[in-house]
């Protein structure tokens, strides 16, 4: 070996050490490849070359010198080492004037190739050159491998970060959803979290309550959205729908720009939908994305549903309280004790229904020999009906002591009630003034179920009077009728709760049944008659829910 060769070897060694130190000090792939390529070009006095690395199973040129970009774009698809020897590839290398090729191999696998053009001095590459190039690529391989691993690690880290961020969001939302009281707020929070996570500008959240579709939040045109949604059966959407399915089956929604529909489900039942427009970064929704949105939606719907149930319970409670108050008012309006009379045996009572009906009766002593009886049914239920009843009682108690004629008094009561009622409310009302001495009875019936006067098994219906109270001011004067009552006459006054009591077959107790029963009972005392009728009604309606008050007043002439 001569001296110059020795010197050359030393220089080569020095260059290799330097290259090794340089590229191993960096993890920047571009820097590494650039140096690797430049060192090789410099060493072999070549003007062109490239490095291609395996990416997604195929070789891809990453760094290049002296070769046109366009030519590099035509790089053939190479997925294994055999293809490096293919004619196609050789032809391609010729076209870009590459004459030298080496594989870059890490300890495990081939990760790429380095390719060089002919030397400037046209001297062909020698075996020594090939060996030297191989040494260079060996040094480079480690650095490239490290750099690739770092990139991969960074990528994995980013995916992990994004998973963590999603988990955090879920955790945060689950906390918040428990706190919010309104479904619109929950929906808004749900939406913010999703659009923030996925860069979405158009969105909507709808919920289903029974058959009602409620748009909780929408950046799509509301009316059109509602129109499109009303045309589909939301309950049938049990899986998330991606863009292509929406294009195919939900053209209207697709037109609005909906690209993803995620159902919000509770116990497998769809209770709402999240509709999303396209992502600003134009990336399609992945399976994991959809799953995340589904999770957020499930959290939200639990909260929305809880709120709904809570509200419902609250309303029910309020309604029950309302009814309780009404019941109290009504009970207090009825006479606590019924006065005793010389010639009349009088019994009255009401069986209240679970819901408050509007039955009312009263027996008022006017003076030693006169008294007034009244029975009424106020339309509607609850507090408003109870208050109307209280009004009626107040008018009645005042007017019956004024000594007015009963027909005129009825007209006056009607005027007062009409002034004080809201549209559609009315009262059926029957009242009578009875002389305890002469057994005369003067009555007016304002649309109430006609009381039955039973004399010797014959029924007379007490139906003289006029229109029900509260519908309009008195235009046509009320009629009254004067009756001379006789011993053993029985008068049965009742509300529709008696005649319209239903049995399990949906049949009414009926006027006929009541009349027939009443006629058969005339020999009994007022108390007994009342008890038997009530028993018969309750026997008839056995097993059904009493939906209206049942009021019965029996007057028997002694």
């Amino acid at each position: 070996m001569n001296e110059s060769e020795d010197l050359k070897a030393k220089r080569n060694l020095k260059a290799l050490v330097e290259l090794g130190r340089l590229i191993n000090s960096s993890l920047d792939l571009d820097f590494i490849l650039n140096n690797l390529l430049l060192t090789s070009l410099g060493k072999f006095l070549s003007t062109r070359g490239f490095i291609a690395l395996k990416k997604d199973g195929c070789l891809k040129p990453i760094a290049h010198k002296g070769i046109d970009d366009q030519l590099l774009n035509k790089f053939p698809k190479i997925s294994n080492q055999n293809e490096l020897k293919s004619d196609e590839f050789k032809e391609y290398l010729n076209s870009i004037k590459i004459v030298m090729l080496d594989e870059i191999c890490s300890s495990q696998e081939c990760i790429g190739i380095i390719a060089l053009g002919e030397k400037l001095n046209k001297i062909p590459y020698t075996d020594d050159d090939a060996e030297f190039l191989h040494t260079i690529t060996n040094i480079g391989a480690t650095a490239i491998q490290n750099s690739l691993m770092l990139t991969e690690l960074k990528k994995t880290n980013r995916i992990l970060d994004s998973r963590i961020s999603r988990l955090n969001s879920l955790f945060e939302l689950s906390k918040e959803f428990g706190l919010f009281s309104e479904s619109t707020k929950v929906a808004r929070l749900l939406v913010y979290s999703v659009i923030g996570q996925f860069l979405i500008q158009k969105f909507a959240v709808v919920s289903i309550d029974g058959n009602n579709i409620k748009i909780l939040e929408s950046k799509f045109p509301q009316d059109e959205l509602l129109n499109s949604i009303n045309k589909i059966n939301i309950k049938l959407i049990t899986n998330s729908l991606l863009k292509n399915e929406i294009e195919l089956n939900y053209k209207n929604l697709n037109k609005l720009g909906v690209e993803l529909i995620v159902p919000m489900q509770l116990q497998g039942e769809t209770k709402g939908l999240i509709l999303l427009g396209k992502r600003a970064n134009e990336i399609d929704f992945s399976e994991a994305d959809v799953e995340y949105i589904y999770s957020v939606g499930s959290l939200a719907i639990v909260s929305i549903e809880n709120q709904r149930l809570f509200k419902e319970a609250l309303e029910k409670q309020k309604l029950e309280e309302d009814l309780e108050i009404a019941r109290d008012i009504q009970r207090n309006l009825l006479p606590h004790k019924i006065p005793q009379f010389k010639n009349f045996d009088l019994v009255a009572n009401t069986v209240f229904s679970k819901q408050v009906g509007g039955d009312y009766y009263d027996v008022i002593s006017l003076d030693e020999n006169h008294f007034c009886v009244a029975i009424a049914d106020v339309s509607g239920k609850g507090v408003s009906a109870a208050l109307m009843m209280a009004n009626l009682q107040a008018f009645l108690k005042t007017i019956c002591k004024q000594g007015m004629k009963i027909d005129e008094a009825t007209g006056l009561i009607n005027d007062l009630i009409s002034e004080n009622t809201t549209e559609g409310k009315f009262i059926t009302f029957f009242w009578a003034l009875i002389d305890d001495e002469t057994k005369q009875m003067l009555y007016v019936n304002a649309g109430h179920n006609p009381p039955l006067l039973i004399r010797k098994e014959k029924i007379t219906k007490l139906d003289k009077g006029g229109i029900i109270l509260g519908v309009m001011k008195t235009m046509i004067p009320y009629l009254s009728e004067n009756l001379q009552l006789e011993k053993d006459d029985v008068i049965v006054l009742f509300t529709d709760g008696v005649s319209e009591a239903m049995n399990q077959n949906g049949e009414e107790f009926s006027d006929e049944r009541l009349e027939k029963l009443s006629v058969s009972l005339t020999s009994k005392s007022a108390e007994e008659i009342s008890v038997v009728i009530q028993n018969e009604v309750s026997k008839f309606a056995y097993g059904t829910l009493q939906s209206d008050d049942i009021t019965l007043m029996i007057i028997k002439v002694k």
Partner: protein, 117 residues
């Protein structure tokens, strides 16, 4: 509960919104109010300064998405500035730099608005 507050400074036509504390699902409505207040007044040129923001969650990011369209339709923009690295990473992770201009300093963001004129 984590604290969050916003304050607004008018600088000509530009409104600088300062965020402070923790912007999460719980505090997001507060920022929402700030934005809708500005939009209602027709003030569409907004710089958000994140200098004192310690944390932002996806619900907080959602507020930015919810208003950007309306604001840009009206010729305005929301520009972001002065983020801590932690906060920037969250924005970056979700791809916000694609949609929003993010500046190192408030002044740069303001300058960008003025440049356009």
């Amino acid at each position: 509960m984590a604290e969050f507050s916003t304050s607004i400074k008018d600088q000509g036509n530009i409104n600088i919104v300062y965020l402070k504390g923790f912007l999460d699902a719980h505090t997001a409505p507060s920022l929402e109010n700030t934005f809708s207040g500005l939009v209602d007044k027709g003030r569409y040129q907004i710089v958000v300064n994140f200098k004192d923001l310690n944390y932002i969650s996806s619900a907080g990011l959602g507020v930015f998405m919810a208003y950007i369209e309306k604001i840009r339709e009206n010729g305005g923009d929301i520009k972001l500035s002065s983020m801590s690295e932690k906060v920037f990473n969250i924005f970056d992770l979700l791809g916000f730099p694609l949609l929003y201009e993010i500046f190192k300093t408030e002044d740069e963001a303001v300058l960008k608005f003025n440049e356009k004129k």
